[in-house]
């Protein structure tokens, strides 16, 4: 009796989390998956259409390009902040300058600001008559000014840079915390072995930061894939369809067009992509750690 009780104990610990997880995550997700096999306008009787919504999604240029844009955003939201945050964190951890903590807090601040505020501010900065273009005009010819968020070429990269700016602070904070975990003895050993700064970074710092890098990539890549608020505030998917991302399509189809089945199918595909990408990142991190 006692033995069985002890075996059940771990599950008992899971109960509180499970109580939240089931009604707020699992049930809605199961509902969404179910919905994705129906043609439903939210009002009339839903009709079962099998995999038709998925067929439409995979066959649609717009849906494919939305996922393409999300992949581009991964580079800006994920890869770029991680690449920039590494030297920032390493150099700031090594040297102690007066006001260093305040500086780190400043870099982290975008993460604490609501995305809507970020979007409105950057919309102003990037406008044709905004400060960025004022600087460009001051330094170069007038024609070099660009309507960043209204340009068919530059809108998506501009959004990407805004996202990178937002997430950079998070990456720096994660890496800075990770650096504190690396035993000083490893650096001493590297110094004794005569390693230069680069060797030391390759042999000690980078391996020590693999965990934080995996966490940073997971968080940033997910935020790139599910980007909605920033796009909705700054471009609404435009100009044309240049910045349409899956989140925008899901929102429009579900809440504006009354195509809930189709929206659900895109949501399911997006969830699967998110699962797959996070799994991949963590697999790679685990394998390297092992």
């Amino acid at each position: 009796m006692r033995g069985r009780g002890r075996a059940a104990l771990p599950y008992l610990y899971l109960v509180p989390a499970f109580l939240f997880f089931v009604p707020f995550v699992l049930v809605p997700f199961a509902h969404t998956v179910g919905l994705s096999f129906y043609d439903w306008d939210g009002l009339t009787r839903a009709s079962f259409v099998g995999i038709e919504n998925y067929r439409e999604a995979f066959g649609s240029r717009l849906v494919r390009s939305a996922f393409g844009h999300a992949l581009v955003l991964i580079l800006y939201f994920g890869v770029l902040p991680v690449l920039l945050a590494l030297p920032l964190a390493v150099s700031s951890a090594r040297t102690s300058v007066p006001g260093g903590n305040a500086l780190r807090a400043l870099i982290f601040m975008p993460q604490a600001i609501s995305t809507v505020v970020v979007g409105v501010c950057w919309g102003w900065i990037l406008a044709l008559d905004g400060p960025l273009n004022a600087a460009i005009r001051a330094l170069g010819p007038d024609w070099a000014a660009v309507d960043w968020l209204g340009s068919f070429t530059w809108a998506l990269p501009s959004l990407g840079i805004v996202g990178a700016w937002t997430l950079l602070g998070l990456c720096v904070a994660l890496f800075f915390a990770g650096l504190q975990q690396i035993p000083a003895s490893l650096y001493d050993a590297a110094a004794v072995d005569g390693a230069n700064r680069w060797r030391e970074f390759r042999a000690v710092t980078l391996p020590g930061l693999e965990g934080p890098i995996a966490v940073a990539l997971t968080v940033t890549v997910i935020s790139a894939l599910r980007a909605f608020d920033l796009v909705f505030v700054t471009t609404r998917g435009g100009p044309g369809t240049e910045t349409v991302v899956p989140g925008i399509l899901i929102y429009r189809r579900a809440f504006e067009d009354g195509r809930l089945g189709s929206a659900a199918a895109i949501a399911v595909i997006l969830s699967i992509v998110v699962f797959a990408v996070t799994l991949l990142i963590n697999r790679i991190a685990d394998r390297r750690a092992a």
């Binding site: 089931v22 939210g42 009339t44």
Partner: protein
Amino acid sequence: MALTAGSRLCSALRGLTAVLLVAGLSVGCGSNGPDDPAAEGGRDALEVWTPESGTRLQLVQKRADQFAAAHPGVKVNFTIRDFGSYPAQLKLALASDSPPDVVIGNLGWSLDGPLIKAGLLRPLDPWAARYGWDTRFPEVAQRQMRFTTDGRQFGRGAIFGVPYAADVIGWFYNVDKLETLGIGVPATLAELETALETARRAGEVPIMLGNKAQWPGLHLFYLVSDDLASDREVNGIVFGDRSIKWTEPSFVASARKLAQWNAKGYIAAGSNSMSPADALARFVRGTGVFLPAGSWNAAELAAAMNDSVAFFLTPPVRKGESSHATGSVGYGWHLSAASRQADLGAEFIDFMTQEAFAIQLTAGGDISPLPIDDAVARAPSRLAGEIFAAWQGLLANGTLRPYLDFSAPNGAEVLYPTMQAIIAGHETPERGLALIEESREKFLDSL
């Protein structure tokens, strides 16, 4: 090992099934306990839903108070929701166990169509004959309120809504700038294009447009297609005639003209990232000679610019012909299918759409679907007076055209962005309009 994992999975699945069942049961229980409106003794309370705001809302509520005063024992309860979230909330309310009695809808497929298809609205024909709704409004206005009872065809069938307010797209212009540039109000499309060129040469922004929202570009398109396309073509697109397509030469020519205007520098630089409100603010502050926009902006413009702003409908191709313009009779009053006081609701609808309300609306600077004598209606500003006169002309001539985006509900996904790409020269008119037509046909197939 495998067995253990398998049985663990099994028991986990059993647990999940149990949880799902419980969740399903509780949802089922929830829907078994409706509030019974009759039990509240609220038989004489009329539940009314509206997305209106500002002056229109005040006028609607004032008129409803007059209705209540004329009907002792009747109470009108308003539920007001913001325009953006209104459609989703109204759908839920009408499909709930205690639906409202009288609601304002929205034309075409965006809201009315799905509600009618779901059987949530009541055909108004029995009351239309009694109150004269079928003759009160001009035919051009009526067609926008008709749907077949299966909700599959727009523009024909039963009367489902009764209109009370209206809107029209045209050109606002800066009176002082036009004077400085030495141009008169354009009387033909060619004169308008000459005016745009003159304005550009003088270093002015000829057309102020905030196209970040993507639909304003389509409103600009109307100001050309109203001239180049025929009634038959426009009505064909809107009311689901498959023999008419977006790729008609007249639509292609209209789209090409906009792309040319943009290439020539007539449209404000940076319009793709400018919100409509931003464009309006710039126009008020003196940037832009012409502002293509809807009549609903009139009150704000008149308040900010007094008599230095005026309005004209897009001028015809040949001098002296009557102007065609895109507009609508707003959204109508509807009766919910489940209302237990349909007769009272219909009486309310009639009261809210009579000439007396049209006169109140005009005095508030708005326009109404009723042709009314300007002797009885006093517009509050010169601008409102111009719009009123232009609108009355459209009703009298029968040259009002429905919005092309009534043709399908998914304008935001294909129609608006594609039109934006065409104007920007990022997509050719032919290919872009073919894409738009493809999505329209897909929608018609789905009906």
